[in-house]
């Protein structure tokens, strides 16, 4: 099966993460269909999912003085989708850390309060370093469960990988062993979507845009023919192909980082008061061939243009 036959990221003019259409087994061979039916009773079928990333709930600063407003708008946009996405994946940095006692827990509660408004019922997360690095994931687990796991959905195998909670940009030998055991059960033609926080390849190591043992993870995945990796962390849209996998980064919902191929320093792009959600948003995946991934900015029409910040103030969006 051609990888493009399984993952089609369909184009909708939205700015809310990545809207991804998946046709997992409609063109797959009968072996995959019957394998999934035998193992989990699922009937493989097309579906859509949305990827959101880096909402940094609790962040406050000049790069974005509007707090959670872009995140909340994204939830509204997703709730307006028809059909509804069956899955919503969060690829880390759900919250911004705080060392004030109790404050980080409040931020996780706020995150859950916002996402509780989602109509989609299957919402999955992986941690970012701002969620889980300082306490090795202890608080994160209380709110969201394990930091790495796997599940099947309509003929696609999803793998959530944790490359943050050891405090370093690593997955670690224990998790890689788990990954090997998990994958061993699946045929090599199984459609696989990995979602994680940091890139698994060396995008910009001096900005810590890498996973030190990411190459080991990709080696474990290499025998599988249909692997897509969704990640966050870099606060910008990016597409990258390694030998055996395609990697897509979703934009942030708080602020953007500059182009790593031209910028010397990793500094957030300046807040644009006339266009407050500029550079925030998503990657848009289009159901075309060859696979087309479009970068869609979270430009909220009612809050953009010359009066953007004033409009937000009037509507109470800064509150």
């Amino acid at each position: 099966m051609d990888r493009r036959d399984f993952l089609k990221i369909s184009g909708m003019s939205l700015g809310a993460g990545a809207l991804i259409s998946v046709a997992p087994a409609m063109k797959a061979n009968a072996g995959i269909r019957s394998w999934f039916h035998r193992h989990n009773g699922e009937a493989p079928a097309p579906f859509t999912l949305v990827q959101l990333s880096d909402s940094h709930v609790g962040f406050s600063g000049p790069p974005n003085p509007t707090g959670t407003k872009a995140f909340e708008k994204a939830i509204d946009i997703i709730n307006g989708l028809d059909p509804q996405p069956e899955l919503v994946l969060f690829t880390g940095d759900l919250t911004h850390e705080s060392e004030t006692p109790g404050e980080h827990a409040k931020r996780m509660q706020t995150f859950q309060s916002i996402t509780s408004r989602l109509r989609a019922t299957k919402v999955m997360h992986v941690p970012g370093e701002h969620d889980a690095a300082l306490d090795h994931g202890a608080l994160y687990r209380q709110f969201f469960g394990e930091t790495y796991y796997a599940f099947d959905h309509r003929g696609v195998h999803f793998i959530a990988l944790d490359n943050v909670s050891r405090g370093k940009p690593v997955v670690g030998a224990e998790q890689i062993d788990w990954l090997k055991r998990d994958l061993a059960r699946y045929p090599k033609t199984t459609p696989i979507i990995v979602f994680t926080h940091r890139p698994l390849f060396d995008l910009r190591p001096d900005w810590e845009w890498f996973t030190r043992d990411g190459h080991e993870v990709l080696n474990v995945l290499a025998p599988y023919e249909n692997v897509t990796v969704l990640y966050g962390h870099i606060h910008r849209h990016d597409v990258h192909q390694t030998d055996h996998a395609a990697h897509y980064a979703s934009k942030s919902l708080i602020f953007a980082f500059p182009d790593p191929t031209t910028a010397g320093d990793k500094k957030p792009l300046a807040f644009d008061k006339d266009n407050p959600f500029r550079n925030l948003g998503l990657q848009q995946v289009t159901e075309k061939r060859p696979l087309q991934v479009d970068d869609i900015e979270l430009t909220l029409r009612e809050f953009s243009g010359t009066n953007g910040a004033q409009q937000i103030s009037r509507t109470g969006a800064f509150l």
Partner: protein, 109 residues
């Protein structure tokens, strides 16, 4: 015998050139100094100390990978064979600002 061993150690200290030692301190979110210069082929020892909490000190191209813990001196001896500008980073997340905790190791001809 004891005196013979001491004499050998003393001879070793006197006879073998010791690498230059560069002291580096780490605290949120900076290394001090934030830039050092080494000659290509020069052997230097980097002695790195964390002042406030755990940090990392990573520069893979130069073979540097240290875990820093307050109260302990982490040390590595390197002999760079390639000239260039190498950025070492803290790779142990230490809070907001961690992402820009780095220093430059210039290796010159």
């Amino acid at each position: 015998m004891k005196y013979l061993m001491l004499a050998i150690l003393l001879w070793a200290q006197l006879g073998v050139p010791q690498p230059r030692v560069i002291e580096i301190s780490a605290k949120r979110f900076e290394f001090t100094p934030n830039q050092i210069t080494i000659k290509k082929g020069e052997t230097v020892t980097l002695r790195v100390t964390a002042e406030d909490r755990d940090h990392g000190f990573l520069q893979e191209d130069l073979g540097i990978d240290l875990d820093l813990t307050p109260g302990k001196v982490a040390e590595i001896t390197i002999t760079p064979q390639t000239a260039g500008r190498f950025t070492a980073i803290c790779d142990t997340f230490c809070g907001s600002g961690h992402g820009n905790m780095k220093m430059v190791i210039n290796v010159v001809e």
